[in-house]
């Protein structure tokens, strides 16, 4: 049951339609002062859309928004901001070519006479806010030089700067280390203490539930449940989100291990983003046929670099990579794919999909060579293979011809995996395959991985989710600053131990300012 407090901000019977998509269908949503309202829902449930409407970025197709009980027309994000509604966007929205302070004060510059900017004042304020967030960064540093996590902190700082009455946080922690999350929660409590209303969205259900006062669940555009955070648990939330309970997520399986397929010895890789440090430092590991190996680590621990090196995108400085005993030469991605090593990248939009191409064309992109007959791609062979893959990986789509943008996050992820599988790999690398994918799609993805393992593939995947790390892999490697900090079989450790292994590292990392 909700509190008696009168809501500051409310969405009344809001409907939002994009092209053919109904993002929201008649949603009533209240935001109470001094409380944290956690919003749950699968991908595409409409969380961000609802927030965009409350913060003036989008306008409801029907229905309206009330501020302090009076209907308001929020014409733009700026308009909303001026009325005391601040938002932290799900996708980072900073200017990499500007300094931290410029980003914080963008379009809110402190006038300094003669139409100039009062840099001193801005710098001071920036310092204050950052130190409150316990990030000591130079206000004049370029945002582009910050690592993802730090960028997200800047994003948060910018929202705090507005001293809003309503603060909306759409996945503010997707790139934060555990300690950074703790800091954020402290700040949030201070805010609510001062009567600020906070809306909090995260796919890390446990985390969200920890900070929440009220819980609201969306399911494909409808508001399906509201409750007091104290009265509910994760299981209940998941049920409301998908109507299936969480354990179904993790298929129980007994691996049939074959010979050792992938072997890595003393791998050293420079960090492509800032080369004066190592992303991977003398790392060794091995994966056997039919085995699923998981890599858990904090943001920036080098998981992506590791997988990208194995996939042939990033060259190794030293060390060797062997496939069933035979060393792989540094001949690039194409060759690796031919040899049977393929990567499902971390960021679908950026590295996985070609938005200008259809579902089918995306699926067959990596294995066109197979369909070539006399110089040309044989449409029939391609269609058959693609249709089969679509059903194998259970992509929900109108068919191979559909535009890739028309798929939900989960289904897009399945397409990327399908593309990899069409190359008949022997080693399947997946970088955070469940990132930003909803509970339902997650289950399918893990089932896919298990199926491939059964077929005798070696599966190596990364994750930022402790639950996954503990349940999915047969063997779990904990990565800390580019080296293996610990190796465990399934069930060997529990959540707390896992945290301590990586958090310990994280605190160090936070200490040295870079990691």
């Amino acid at each position: 049951m909700r509190t008696a407090v009168a809501p500051i901000l409310r969405a009344c019977d809001v409907t939002k339609v994009y092209g053919g998509t109904h993002a929201l269908k008649g949603v009533d949503f209240d935001v109470a002062p001094g409380r944290v309202t956690a919003l749950f829902g699968e991908n595409g449930a409409g969380k961000s859309t609802l927030m965009k409407i409350l913060s003036g970025i989008e306008h409801p197709t029907t229905g309206h928004v009330e501020l302090d009980g009076r209907p308001v027309a929020l014409v733009s994000s700026r308009d909303a901001a001026d009325q005391g509604i601040a938002i932290i966007h799900q996708e980072l929205s900073l200017c990499p070519n500007l300094s931290i302070q410029d980003n914080l004060f963008l379009a809110r510059e402190v006038p300094g006479g003669l139409g100039s900017i009062d840099r001193r004042a801005q710098r001071a304020t920036t310092r204050a806010i950052l130190s409150n967030l316990e990030e000591d960064l130079d206000p004049d540093q370029l945002v582009g030089d910050l690592r993802l996590g730090q960028q997200q902190v800047v994003e948060i700082a910018r929202a705090l700067l507005q001293e809003a009455r309503v603060l909306i946080m759409d996945e503010p922690t997707s790139a934060l280390t555990a300690p950074e999350v703790e800091v954020l929660f402290r700040v949030i409590r201070e805010l609510t203490g001062n009567g600020v209303a906070v809306v909090y969205i995260s796919h890390h259900l446990d985390e969200a539930l920890e900070i929440a006062d009220d819980v609201v669940v969306l399911r494909d555009g409808r508001l399906v449940a509201t409750a007091d955070a104290a009265e509910v648990d994760i299981g209940w939330i998941v049920e409301q989100m998908v109507g299936r309970d969480q354990d179904a997520l993790f298929p129980h399986r007994t691996p049939a291990l074959g010979e050792e397929l992938l072997t890595v010895r003393d791998l050293v890789v420079a960090d492509p983003a800032n080369p004066d440090r190592l992303a991977i430092d003398r790392l060794s590991l091995s994966v056997r046929q039919g085995e699923i190996v998981g890599i858990y680590g904090l943001m920036g621990s080098g998981r992506t670099e590791l997988l990208e090196t194995l996939a042939g995108r990033v060259p190794a400085l030293s060390g060797e990579i062997l496939l069933s005993g035979a060393p792989l030469e540094d001949a690039g991605i194409r060759r690796r794919i031919e040899q049977g090593v393929v990567l499902v990248p971390e960021d679908r939009q950026r590295d996985g999909l070609v938005q200008t191409m259809s579902v089918g064309e995306n699926l067959s992109l990596a294995s066109l060579a197979k369909f070539v007959r006399r110089l040309f791609v044989s449409r029939d062979r391609e269609r058959d293979a693609v249709e089969r893959m679509i059903s194998d990986v259970t992509v929900k789509t109108d068919g191979a011809g559909a535009a890739i943008g028309s798929l939900s996050g989960g289904n897009q992820q399945k397409v990327v995996i399908g593309k990899a599988l069409l190359t008949d790999p022997r080693v399947l690398l997946l970088d955070d395959p469940s990132r930003g994918v909803d509970v339902g799609a997650k289950a399918d993805v893990f089932e896919l991985m298990a199926a491939q393992a059964r077929r005798g593939l070696a599966v190596l995947f990364t994750t930022s989710d402790a639950e996954e790390a503990l349940h999915i892999p047969d063997r779990l490697l904990v990565l800390v600053r580019g080296t293996v900090a610990g190796e465990f079989r399934r069930g060997e450790i529990n959540r707390e131990e896992l945290m301590s292994v990586s958090d310990g590292a994280a605190i160090e990392a936070a200490g040295d300012g870079e990691r």
């Binding site: 409907t15 339609v17 994009y18 092209g19 053919g20 998509t21 109904h22 991908n43 595409g44 197709t61 029907t62 799900q90 996708e91 996945e171 997707s174 399911r219 494909d220 409808r222 399906v224 996939a311 991605i333 194409r334 690796r336 794919i337 031919e338 990567l343 990248p345 960021d347 679908r348 950026r350 590295d351 996985g352 999909l353 070609v354 938005q355 200008t356 191409m357 064309e361 067959s364 992109l365 990596a366 066109l368 060579a369 070539v372 110089l375 040309f376 791609v377 789509t397 109108d398 559909a402 535009a403 943008g405 028309s406 798929l407 939900s408 996050g409 593309k419 190359t423 990132r435 930003g436």
Partner: protein
């Protein structure tokens, strides 16, 4: 991190109103079909208008003549299309036109083999091959600059625009090569046919355009290379991670573009049976305009051969038509600029309209109540 889009238009429109949805779908696809034809429309309008204003416009000989003029720009534009599909741009084609002509001229004059003092007269086919090779070479330099040295295409090809033009002027000493007819006892005649020949009653250049168009169309729609190209233009990183040899693809398009420009240069030289070093100045702009009017996106990944050809015809027929009407040269310039802008605005309008149309129809559908899932 998260993906937009969960459902396509047809699926999204809720079960409650299938017929409405279907109707909407039909309306839209109709609009599409109509708009996809916009280059057609533009062309049709031109033809009708000019046809009415001048009785000498719609005569068969005149149409053939105009098509022959279109051919040159079309040939260059087909190469440009590939570069633009990749998300690049090639400003050097105009200079390559001049250079290839000059090389042809130089070779047909006979090249002096210093050491033994006699002059070699390569056969015409040899000349043609060499000229195209020169064009490809310039293209290769463009490609290498863009891929290996990461120079922005605009700058790399801008630089080569000057370099290639300068070389053409240096080789020719600034003067024009006269009568490239060649002469019988040297066995290097027949170059003129390229321009003046009329197999099956149509000028050679038209046949070349057609052949090239077919080739490029096959390349784009049927071959793996075509798919790689669209992928590279659509999302380079994703293409790379799928094992597409993006550097080779990128280099290839510049080489092909160079070759096409060289062919255009040969056609011109052969039509005039003489080669001037300043030939082809600013042709790059016409080629780019044709490709863009044809509906391609400068950002890459979007564009077709059909569209490009139509674009070339629009520009060519416009130019010739205005001359036939005797419109002042100054007005011709203004009108050309206006048409380029309008054609592209039409494109944008189309995209916009589609979106709005869709939203509206879907909204209508969403109005009616439905049972909670």
């Amino acid at each position: 991190m998260t993906s937009p889009g969960t459902t396509t238009a047809p699926r999204a429109t809720d079960p409650a109103s299938p017929e409405k949805a279907a109707a909407a779908a039909r309306r839209l696809s109709l609009l599409n079909a109509l708009f996809e034809l916009r280059a057609f429309i533009a062309l049709a309008v031109l033809i009708v208008v000019f046809g009415l204003l001048s009785d000498s416009f719609l005569t068969v000989p005149n149409l053939i003549t105009m098509t022959k003029h279109v051919a040159i720009n079309a040939v260059i534009a087909l190469g440009m299309l590939l570069v633009i599909l990749k998300g690049g741009i090639d400003l050097s084609v105009g200079s390559i036109v001049g250079l290839s002509g000059v090389v042809a001229g130089e070779l047909l004059q006979g090249l002096n083999l210093g050491f033994v003092d006699l002059i070699a007269y390569p056969p015409v086919w040899g000349v043609i091959v060499l000229c195209i090779a020169v064009g490809m070479l310039v293209g290769l330099v463009n490609g290498v600059l863009v891929t290996r040295f990461r120079v922005a295409p605009f700058i790399a090809t801008l630089g080569m625009l000057y370099v290639a033009r300068g070389i053409a002027l240096l080789i020719s000493g600034g003067s024009t090569y006269p009568n490239l007819g060649g002469n019988p006892e040297l066995g290097n005649t027949g170059f003129g046919l390229l321009g003046s020949g009329r197999p099956l009653g149509l000028p050679t250049s038209i046949w070349i355009m057609v052949a090239l168009a077919v080739a490029v169309m096959l390349l784009l729609t049927k071959s793996p290379f075509g798919r790689w190209l669209y992928a590279t233009g659509g999302n380079e990183r994703a293409a790379e991670l799928s094992g597409v040899p993006i550097n080779r693809v990128k280099t290839a398009v510049y080489v092909i573009s160079g070759a096409c420009a060289a062919v255009a240069g040969l056609i011109i030289a052969s039509e005039l049976t003489s080669a001037a070093p300043q030939a082809g100045e600013t042709y790059e702009l016409n080629a780019i305009a044709a490709v863009v009017i044809g509906g391609a996106a400068l950002s890459g990944g979007r564009g077709t051969v059909r569209g490009t050809l139509l674009g070339a015809f629009v520009i060519g027929f416009l130019a010739d038509g205005l001359v036939i009407l005797g419109v002042s040269t100054f007005w011709q310039i203004v009108i050309k600029g206006a048409v380029i802008i309008l054609a592209v605005m039409l494109d944008q309008g189309q995209q916009r309209f589609k979106r709005r149309g869709a939203a509206v129809s879907a909204a209508a559908a969403s109005k009616r109540p439905e049972p909670a899932a």
